[in-house]
Amino acid sequence: MSRTPLDTVEHAAATPDVELPWAELGLKKDEYERVVEILGRRPTGAELAMYSVMWSEHCSYKSSKVHLRQFGEKAPENDALLVGIGENAGVVDVGQGYAVTFKVESHNHPSYVEPYQGAATGVGGIVRDIIAMGARPVAVVDPLRFGAADHPDTKRVLPGVVAGIGGYGNCLGLPNIGGEVVFDACYQGNPLVNAGAIGVMRHEDIHLAKASGAGNKVILYGARTGGDGIGGASILASETFDDAKPSKRPAVQVGDPFQEKLLIECTLEAFAEKLVVGIQDLGAAGLSCATSELASNGSGGMRVTLDDVPLRDSTLSPEEILMSESQERMCAVVEPDKVDRFLAICDKWDVIATVIGEVTDGDRLEIFWHGEKIVDVDPRTVAHDGPVYERPYARPDWQDALQADDANKLPRPATSEELKDQVLKLVASPNQASKKWITQQYDHFVQGNTVLAQPEDSGMIRIDEESGLGVAIATDGNGRYAKLDPYTGAQLALAEAYRNVATTGAKPLAVSDCLNFGSPEDPAVMWQFAEAVRGLADGCKQLGTPVTGGNVSLYNQTGEAAIHPTPVVAVLGVIDDVARRTPVAFQEEGQLLYLLGDTDEEFGGSAWSQVIHDHLGGLPPKVDLERERLLAEILISASRDGMIDSAHDLSDGGLVQAVVESALLGGVGARLVVPDGLDAFTLLFSESAGRALVAVPRSEELRFTDMCGARGLPATRIGVVDGDTVEVQGEFTLTLEELRRAHEETIPALLA
């Protein structure tokens, strides 16, 4: 191949006038000039490759950073937080010497292009973040959003995404214990594929992404490096440095879950033998990210010989190797006398491992190719000193009109017959229907520690067999609420996930999030983003649950049309003994149904307004976080003291949705009586926050109502678990069979 001379550091210094294709690589002119200023010369092609990927929106958070700071600034005092924002994932103390790490990430766009592989590699990426903290991954969750359920493209995207998440997670041996599936036309063309993972470790096993100790070796292990996801670098290779056309570079990354399973096992074995000083997974921006982050977080510099990187495609240029996003790779820093042992462990697991560099005394990251220096940078400038934008934001001019279009004024059912009809429509609507067709494609049982999984309010995993210590996780988000009011919408997402965790009996501890929005260049979107972050940060402060990490996904829009602002919130909780967990299903006839919390007429953004009127307007339900906290305390105490046998949080779809789900799961019905001061319609469909439905054994009724009374939580007796129908006295009766058909046939009919 005919190649112009290698663009070495020396060559770059000597040829200041050479123009590099910075614009094609996504850099702005001022960003490029900043690189030149930092280096005191023009960058080499390889340096430009690194800066351009590391300074991209995805890696540098340049549009979101100024807002995300609030998560730190407003972080509540919390002794449980062991590692906060900034690392691969946050780490929380859950007691008995255990620590838990968890995080949610997006893989939205790749999943639209190639649903199976996009979703699969999304799972792969988040799991590597968890391993990189030193933890054994123990579960995954998958909050998903798709276009309209009956749109033909949804039939392409959804089955592929679900098969990809299952295909990867199942093969890794990670139980899938929760998530969401939401349909809305606003996600057509921009499906949201968020994936979360949880890992468990002992406190002393926490590992961080940093390279220290001059002389320590940098080991790249896992898959060979191919040309995956390096569109930009290929431009660099072809137009500037290479006369020959570059070979084709895949736009899509293909995952190999088997390889990742081996990575998990060999990494954990290396941790167990204390062989690892620092570790970093290779995700977006591949080696550029891993080397610059490891080096900048440590004490010294780093020298890397790129020729030693095992390749899948021998035609790759050094720029491409640096930018490649090939999956299933990790980078470890290991003391010289432990390298042999580390390599032996990799060999045991048939994992390719290669020393590609070492930690140096200096503070430079130097990268060599064919014996010549092609990168010589201060790694902090690559990893941490990316541009920061104060993007303009403004409340959109349509917001007032949207909020004025009050959903509480929509026509309500006039007769009992109509009410009954609307109940059936609601529970059969794609968003409220059973997601079993989807979730049964996921392994819930593997690892033998699953206490709760779909369709419970939160997933729950036992982490200690002796004591029964466990953790719970729930993810929630409601783009419709957030569209009506992003500040409140974000808090409602937080409140719902928090409530879901507490409903199962676990104490909420910490938060991760995935913030899915449209283009930050649109001031209206930027306002939604700023409001949502402010809402979430304020909410977390008030609830005492710090944000430990998360992910921002911007540019989810087609042309002018952005998705609904969709902050997805994951709340992690802890439970001392999983034997005390509270399930959703009704357990026993005769138990009393109590509605906890206050029910107001709140229909803005509700499922009812969507299903019956195809309407979105007004204000979302009010948030009262003190009430949420009180409700959570009651739910946790009641579970610990055996006062309730089942519980279900109330959210979209309102009370009727919760009753139907609990009844269908338990195989036993309910008789409801509309309490004084409420009408049947509001009781059944309102989406007031801060509420839950609980089933109380008669023997516990007094104790339970006394507790609620003493602590000031409204508890209204609304009926009894009974029979094989759901009956609302004086209104209608629906058999469980009718309800089951309505609830369970929708999704298979649309997608199978």
């Binding site: 098969a163 299952g166 295909g167 199942n170 093969c171 890794l172 041996g173 190999d256 879950p257 088997f258 390889q259 399973k261 081996l262 096992e265 045991k348 697991w349 048939d350 979730t439 049964q440 494609q441 996921y442 392994d443 819930h444 049982f445 593997v446 690892q447 033998g448 520690n449 699953t450 206490v451 036992r462 067999e465 999983v578 034997a579 967990r581």
Partner: protein, 226 residues
């Protein structure tokens, strides 16, 4: 004295730790076996556990079947060593021709995870003594390639010899011929099934039932009383 039961870990095995736990809960001693060792460590019985050995690439179980550990295992299984293959383990046993037939992709082309109802058809194998014939149990099922197939002659033979050990009830979750969920070899020492008894050994966890525990107590009794 208790029995020592080996659990083989192949690359991609997932349920090795769970299976060891089930063995422990039954009162036996689990022994970890490594696929690269041609050594069964003189265990009294072996479980080939679930998972995706070698990613289930090529065919489920096809690559694992050639692992070094399989050499002594095949030899000793033919000589009477009790071997239980669960899910991927069952697939490996058919690929190794220790059990007849083959496993193919589920007829609906999806992974399926459910709490599955089964009937115990043969309570006389090394692994089913603690069940009674005809007993109905619930065991979690989770797989992509669970469709049992064999030619008619083989199926007739299995039926005639009472070698269909477990049959799916209510729902055939994968298109298995004659609703077969598990089979045994002629001698009754080698048993394979798709559902996962090791995930039904503790109340609260997994399916929340303990219908799978008798697999492990059966073999323990058999070995200790032998």
């Amino acid at each position: 004295m208790t029995a020592r039961i080996g659990v083989v870990t192949f690359p991609g095995s997932l349920d090795d730790r769970d299976t060891q736990r089930a063995i422990r809960l039954a009162g036996a001693e689990p022994v970890a076996l490594w696929h690269k060792d041609k050594d069964l460590k003189q265990v009294d019985a072996v479980v080939l556990c679930g998972g995706f050995s070698y990613g289930d690439y090529l065919r489920a179980g096809a690559i694992a079947r050639f692992s070094p550990v399989m050499e002594p295992l095949i030899e000793q299984a033919k000589a009477g060593l009790p071997v239980l293959g669960i899910c991927n383990g069952f697939q490996i046993l058919t690929e190794a021709h220790l059990l007849p037939g083959a496993m193919l992709g589920n007829d609906h082309l999806h992974f399926v995870c459910r709490d599955q109802k089964l009937r115990v058809e043969n309570a006389a194998t090394s692994w089913t003594g603690d069940y009674s014939e005809g007993q109905e149990i619930h065991i979690p099922l989770k797989n992509m390639d669970g469709r049992y197939v064999a030619d008619e002659r083989t199926l007739d033979m299995l039926e005639a010899e009472g070698r269909v050990a477990f049959r799916y009830l209510d729902v055939n979750p994968n298109g298995s011929l004659r609703d077969i969920a598990g089979i045994t070899n002629e001698a009754g020492n080698v048993v394979g099934l798709m559902p996962h008894p090791e995930h039904a050994v503790e109340p609260l966890i997994g399916s929340g039932r303990t219908d799978g525990l008798p697999f492990f107590t059966s073999i323990l009794k058999k070995l200790v009383n032998a």
